[in-house]
């Protein structure tokens, strides 16, 4: 589904990703771990097409298409979803109105019929239960005045409604209590199927207890420096990142 080859990318002229290679097949859940500042968010944003993150060389193929050639909204319509590390507030824009516009833009692009207000509400109610968000949230402005945890749950709610093929979660777990963590994990688990792939970016191993990944990768200094199964996450939890960095230095 997703093939990243030798990707270099930067922000404001500063090189962050330095030759990242990663293969994600349909049906797989990959966890990407790494110390702060290692380039995890950069990877997520480059994949989603955020303008200030500029790829300089390498390639990303998504479902056979050159992903980097598409503008952000087209990637979204093709099924790429990014749950953001810092969800954005949009004052005065109704949460449910926003999501309906998004879903219909995606559906239209995929040649499906747009949902009318009633159909959409039905779908939204169903997914709201999944993330245990109160209906009152739907009539508030997008993320405005939401607590940190509510914002993250709103991201998962949007993901559940949009049903993306490739979901990227950028530290959706940070700052969450155990309950919220479980809700987020359930949201992702509900999405799991042969048709979906998930890239979970996280700093801690906590989330991965509820959300068992098929593969774990360590990102350091702009590259994947180690890959393994779910046991790698546990190892990282015990030993921290230092040992990997030491390994790296030793290898130089």
């Amino acid at each position: 589904m997703l093939e990243i080859k030798d990707l270099y990318a930067g922000i404001d002229g500063k090189e962050i990703l330095k030759g990242l290679t990663l293969h994600v097949g349909a049906g797989e859940v990959h966890a990407i771990m790494g110390p702060n500042g290692s380039g995890k968010s950069t990877l997520a944003n480059v994949l989603a097409g955020r303008p200030k993150y500029v790829p300089t060389s390498g390639s990303v193929t998504y479902e056979g298409k050159d992903l980097l050639a598409l503008p952000a909204e087209e990637r979204a319509r093709e099924g790429v979803f990014l749950a953001m590390q810092y969800p954005v507030e949009i004052p005065g824009v109704n949460n449910i109105y926003f999501l309906k516009a998004a879903l219909n833009a995606v559906r239209k692009h995929q040649g499906q019929e747009e949902l009318d207000a009633m159909e959409f509400l039905q779908l939204a109610r169903e997914k709201m239960k999944l993330v245990e968000l109160d209906e009152a949230f739907m009539n508030r402005s997008v993320n405005e005045g939401f607590s940190g945890g509510e914002k993250k749950r709103n991201e998962i709610f949007q993901m559940a409604v949009l049903d993306p093929k490739l979901a990227i979660l950028d530290e959706t777990d940070s700052g969450l209590d155990i309950d919220a963590l479980r809700i987020v994990a359930e949201g992702v688990n509900a999405l799991r199927s042969e048709k979906h792939a998930v890239l979970v970016i996280t700093h801690y191993q906590r989330l991965l207890k509820y959300l068992v990944p098929d593969f774990v990768h360590v990102l350091a200094d702009g590259r994947i420096v180690k890959s393994g199964g779910k046991e790698l996450a546990e190892e990282l939890e015990q030993k921290g990142y230092e040992w990997i960095e030491e390994e790296l230095v030793a290898a130089r």
């Binding site: 990637r75 979204a76 319509r77 949009i90 833009a105």
Partner: protein, 477 residues
């Protein structure tokens, strides 16, 4: 607007107004003879001519104001013709003859084909018996005694009302442009709601029977008698072109004891091309006077004109009277707007609310200028002001000048102001969910304006939302 309204509107245009004035035009220039000519052509009573002449003589002693934060070349007041008989626009045979750019705009605003024809002066088929609808409309109003007609008609048929209230809120000496208007106004609307009557429908200039093309110097007078209530809609969202660059209208509202007037405007005069050439200069004086327990509410959405100079104001004279001002002003390309309000508190326990939303894009320049005056007599007066500016891009500007004058220590004043930019992060957030940049901007801007839009009558609100989207086109790359 509903198709019924469109139909009536198109019909109105087709038949024009009933008039005995021969088609002719006064020579350019402004002097007493021209004013006498205007008055004579309109067959006005002596007092009306006197009003015009007094205004003109006063105008000669006045200087054009220069305090506003707007720039434009000198206006030659002697080069304009101040009277031309109402004439039909040149009729086109089909919409194919209309400027394609204008048609594209119509389409985006969702304006029906019939309405498009009306606005661009294409001859329309009589598919609808408009006369009967117009008559029904008039009968409805007449049943409750509401008078709604052109200003000229009012001068002829209701001289006692016009004479009593004309200039009672905006005196002919008021300001350069209002004084000019008082001397040379050609037509406009008049509306009177009798005691205790709640006007059964929203009054729209669309419906104003027997008038069209009120032109450059429009005059509106609305009187709500004791306990009466009315909602009045002015303007339309379709881009309005006019040969005359200078527009100087005057609107006076009189809300007698316990009366309530809600005045909503969508202004979309031609803003000029991307360099600002050819746009309308809109210098408007709008003011209302509220007597005891009365309420005045101004809501405006200003997206058009090259230059806007406009401060709808409230004189809160009666005890417990209320004034409101809700405004969205948008400037794109090279548009300039200096707009705001004045709330003058005279009565006890008077309250006023100001919510102003300014949006600047392109090289647009926008100034909010508000004045809240609490006079000595205004025990317990309260004001809440909120002025927010939203910037799109870095070549535009927003400026805020709130003036506050408090002469009574019991007054409670609250003022909030903010300036924000549509951030890359907001835009990306929308796009990441599949929403196009254009739709995202329009969504964010409409969200920003929500507090004002919710004050608009429903139909107007929907149109205003679309209008902002269209007006912002090209504002993001």
């Amino acid at each position: 607007m509903s198709s019924t309204i469109e139909q009536i509107a198109s019909q109105e245009y087709k038949y024009g107004f009933i008039t005995d004035i021969e088609a002719d035009q006064a020579p350019p220039g402004l002097n007493e003879d021209i004013i006498r000519l205007i008055s004579a052509k309109k067959n006005e009573p002596e007092w009306m001519l006197e009003f015009r002449l007094k205004a003109f003589r006063h105008w000669l002693t006045m200087k054009e104001p220069t305090w506003a934060n707007i720039k434009y070349g000198p206006i030659d007041y002697q080069a304009t013709s101040y009277y031309s008989a109402p004439k039909q626009k040149k009729k086109l045979n089909s919409l194919d003859e209309v400027d394609p750019e204008l048609r594209a705009t119509f389409a985006k605003l969702g304006i029906s084909l019939e309405e498009q024809k009306r606005l661009s002066g294409v001859a329309v088929d009589a598919v609808f018996d408009s006369v009967s609808v117009a008559t029904t409309f008039r009968t409805e109003l007449a049943k409750v005694g509401v008078i709604f007609c052109s200003f000229s008609d009012a001068v002829q048929n209701h001289p006692e009302l016009v004479q009593k209230y004309l200039g009672s809120v905006v005196p002919y000496t008021d300001n350069f442009f209002a004084t000019l208007n008082s001397a040379v106004f050609t037509d406009g609307s008049f509306c009177y709601i009798p005691k205790g009557v709640r006007c059964p429908m929203e009054l729209s200039t669309y419906f104003r029977i027997n008038s069209a093309n009120t032109g450059q110097f429009e005059r509106t007078l609305i009187v709500a008698d004791e306990g009466a209530t009315v909602s009045y809609l002015e303007g339309c969202t379709a881009p309005m072109r006019d040969e005359n660059q200078l527009h100087a209208a005057v609107v006076e509202l009189v809300a007698l004891d316990n009366a309530s007037i809600k005045y909503s405007t969508v202004q979309n005069w031609y803003p000029g091309d991307k360099e600002g050439r050819g746009g309308i200069y809109n210098f408007v004086t709008k003011r209302g006077k509220a007597f005891k327990n009365a309420k005045l509410s101004w809501t405006q959405v200003e997206t058009g004109s090259a230059i806007t100079w406009k401060y709808p104001s409230c004189i809160l004279q009666g005890d417990n009277s209320i004034g409101e001002f809700y405004s969205v002003a948008l400037t794109n390309h090279r548009q300039q707007a200096d707009t705001g309000t004045k709330m003058i508190h005279l009565g006890k326990n008077t309250r006023s609310t100001i919510v102003s939303k300014g949006i600047s894009a392109g090289r647009g320049q926008q100034t909010y200028r508000g004045e809240v005056k609490i006079m000595k007599s205004a025990e317990g007066a309260r004001n809440y002001s909120q002025c927010d500016s939203l910037l799109l891009g870095d070549k535009c500007g927003a400026h805020t000048f709130p003036y506050i004058e408090v002469r009574n220590s019991t007054a409670k004043m609250e003022h909030e102001a903010s300036t924000s930019k549509i951030g890359e992060d907001q835009l990306f957030y929308c796009q990441q969910r599949g929403i196009s940049a254009e739709d995202a901007v329009s969504m964010i801007v409409n969200g920003f304006c929500r507090e004002v839009f919710k004050e608009l009558p429903m139909e107007f609100a929907v149109e205003a939302t679309k209008l902002l989207g269209v007006s912002l086109e090209g504002a993001v790359g």
